[in-house]
């Protein structure tokens, strides 16, 4: 009886192990094999962060460009994505030149002292595959205003294999990543001008990312 229970337990653990392994190494349905280096480039598509500050007195829509970075991706193991993405603070726009100046000033993001905002992927979880697309959550270190915090970013990924059509944009396979997350200005020690946060600027900023890269760059 004892031996039977041990065998049953071992079988259950083995099956559970296989299930976990399959869940974490689910492959994209593409022909590409092996680890690929994906370089972000505006040639592939417009790399952009769009963000919204929704405060009682004012709603501000803005963008950040000047995005660069590389990711390593094995299409057979989406959970293995790693890499760093960064955006230039000086490229942030809100449609009003004066306001853009305030945003980059030392009262806010201090572009002179902290010129980049970056995100480094350290792990990926909850991967789900649909054909050549995947969804998941990237866990990583988000750095802004000189402060680094661990954040979880839900993302979608689309992998397009090289074709005559894709070569018009960039050589190699193309990859698109979209993500949405929120950041609290307080967490990153962004105080702004006195009394502004919470009235004219939201305490939390909603950020959407659109990233495009190619394996042949």
């Amino acid at each position: 009886m004892n031996t039977m229970m041990k065998k049953l337990l071992a079988t259950t653990l083995l099956l559970a192990g296989i299930a976990v392994n399959q869940a974490t190494t689910q492959p994209l349905v593409v022909n590409a094999i092996g680890q690929k280096k994906v370089t972000l480039s505006d040639k592939v598509g417009k790399n952009q962060f769009t963000w919204v500050s929704d405060a009682p007195l004012e709603k501000i829509n803005g963008t950040a460009e000047g995005i660069s970075g590389t990711l390593t991706l094995d299409p057979k193991n989406v959970a293995g994505i790693r890499g760093t993405i960064s955006a230039q603070v000086a490229t942030m726009k809100t449609g009003n030149g004066t306001r853009d100046g305030h945003l980059r000033s030392d009262q806010w993001l201090d572009a002179a002292k902290y010129p980049t905002i970056s995100f480094t992927v350290t792990s990926v979880k909850d991967v789900s595959i649909t054909g050549a697309s995947a969804t998941g959550t990237a866990i990583g270190n988000f750095t802004m205003h000189g402060i680094t915090k661990s954040v979880a970013v839900p993302f979608t990924l689309k992998y397009i294999e090289e074709s005559a059509k894709t070569r018009e944009r960039a050589p190699g396979d193309l990859v698109m990543l979209t993500a949405q997350f929120s950041i609290s200005l307080k967490d990153f020690n962004v105080a702004g001008s006195r009394g502004t946060i919470g009235s004219k600027v939201g305490e939390t900023i909603v950020v959407k990312a659109q990233l495009f890269g190619a394996t042949g760059l």
Partner: protein, 91 residues
Amino acid sequence: MTKTIAILCIIAAAGLIAWWGVTSGELWTLDKVAYTVTDPLFGTESIEWREEFRVGLLPAVGPVAATLLVVGGFLFWKRRRIQMKPQAVIA
């Protein structure tokens, strides 16, 4: 004369606010306007900023319209005050 200037001030303020409402409705004056562009390959939408001037409530229309309303209101109040003063009776 005072009444005419007061009415003109209020009409100008209303006109400015209507112009602001029709052209932008934005709180701040914009020197760039966001347009949504769709990527034909990926189907994603991105923001493209185009050089364009859109008058906003601040710092343009709001203070000017408010000043005109204050001036118009003050002129009406002054005129009414003069009208309500007791007339001197000449014996």
